[in-house]
Amino acid sequence: MTDTLKRTPLYDLHVALGGKMVPFAGYEMPVQYAQGVLKEHQHTRTKAGLFDVSHMGQCFLNSKTVEHGSDGAHEMIAAALEKLVPGEIQKLKPGRMRYSLLLSEKGGVLDDFMITRPPMANADGRLFLVVNAARKDHDYAYLQAQLGDEVELQILEGFGLLALQGPMAAQVLADHAPEVATMAFMSARPIKLAGIDVFVSRCGYTGEDGFEISCHGKDAEAIAKLLLDHEDVEPIGLGARDSLRLEAGLCLYGHDMDESTSPVEANLKFALGKRRREEGGFLGAERIMKEYHDNPSRLRVGIAPSGRAPAREGVEIQTVEGTVIGKITSGGFGPTHNGPVAMGYVDFEHSHTGTDVNLIVRGKPQAAKIVDMPIVPQNYYRG
């Protein structure tokens, strides 16, 4: 490793809590705490887990041509970003957020990220983005180059981002800020936690209800401790974050998607806005819309091994007759599923739910089935 690993504002707290620190996306991050991955996973599914996701990139895109808060400011910044993403951003309402994909000219996915339109009227003309840690340098350079002089990229350097996830998350956070209890899923607003100004979004990447809390780096530890004080909250490491998102059918960029993958191949058709599909006008639209209408050559699918052996990234997928049809891109043990779970890409004609396949684990074929994702039902707040 040539570069020095970076630390988030919660590094000291992780160490104090017994976090086992490992390199991840250029940061020293806790892969687990004393409880271990299985218990941390179960705790998040049954109560509430606190994750440090401060390594992720937080930035604003600001309109430089239309005054913030004035008519047309949101439409300007949204139209600019819509060239690079296939989602509906112009009609995003104040205080609402959307999962979207950063596209290359060839229609490949350069990153997946969250886009939020702030609720404050005077912030119209700004969009808040949360991007993957491993991609943030790339994304910032790409956004700036593609968006040009009319858009300012404002990077929130050294900020904290905490994710509180699980069925108890709303109750825990509402102890400090009652207004979060009825926040819609995929909405965001500023609140105060113990007198500290933070920006909270009802979202996450575990398949559970939950929140992400963006704050100044100097406040991150106080907020983490405030939440960990609750008896139902435990700190959760990257290991459980991975098994949680895998069961929830959510992609990990760089594994389940990369620059060669299109949104349709990645089985993320929902990220293509209706108006955007009709109008096009985003990078790679020709390829993406062709695949949308004619089907892609390969598709990301859920895979459930029939036995107990986990099938991990790189494992070959074959038909029962022995023809190679694809590869596992993420796989492991799903603690809530109580068995191995995986996702991967297979040739489109073999992608139907219920198809029997073989996974070649350590040279031996293991029976498995193509299944619908998520393998563990998502438990989002629906009001």
Partner: protein
């Protein structure tokens, strides 16, 4: 009954004409929560260093190597049915395999407990 250790974190204990083999508690702790164990067939024959069994945790898959030459005379199916036992009692009830050694002197050449302890602290 002395227990011997390998650099791959297996332990071997000679008892009667069989050698019981497991992974060390240190290895189990490093692996994290064990979720899958694959054991060889009874009658399989291994040379020292061969892949003999597989242990998978929530984090990764690891091979368990034959610490000595020998033939499998028993396997512990309890840990196949309940892999978490490996985390609970790696040094005892969660043994993996019993081998009938081809050459018992191979065991003598392995590390003793003090040497293994020193090895894991390096």
């Amino acid at each position: 009954m002395t227990r011997k250790f390998t650099k791959d974190h297996e332990w071997v204990e000679q008892d009667g004409d069989g050698s019981t083999i497991g992974i060390t508690a240190h290895a189990a702790e490093q692996l994290g929560d064990v979720v899958f164990v694959e054991l060889p067939e009874i009658g399989a024959v291994f040379s020292q260093g061969d892949d003999m069994a597989v242990v998978e945790s929530v984090k990764a898959a690891s091979d368990v190597y034959a610490p000595i030459d020998g033939e499998v005379v028993a396997v512990n199916n309890d840990i196949v049915d309940e892999p978490a036992k490996v985390n609970d009692d790696a040094d005892g009830a969660a043994w993996f395999v019993k081998l009938k050694p081809t050459d018992a002197s191979q065991i003598d050449a392995l590390m003793d407990e003090a040497a293994y302890k020193e090895f894991t602290q390096e």
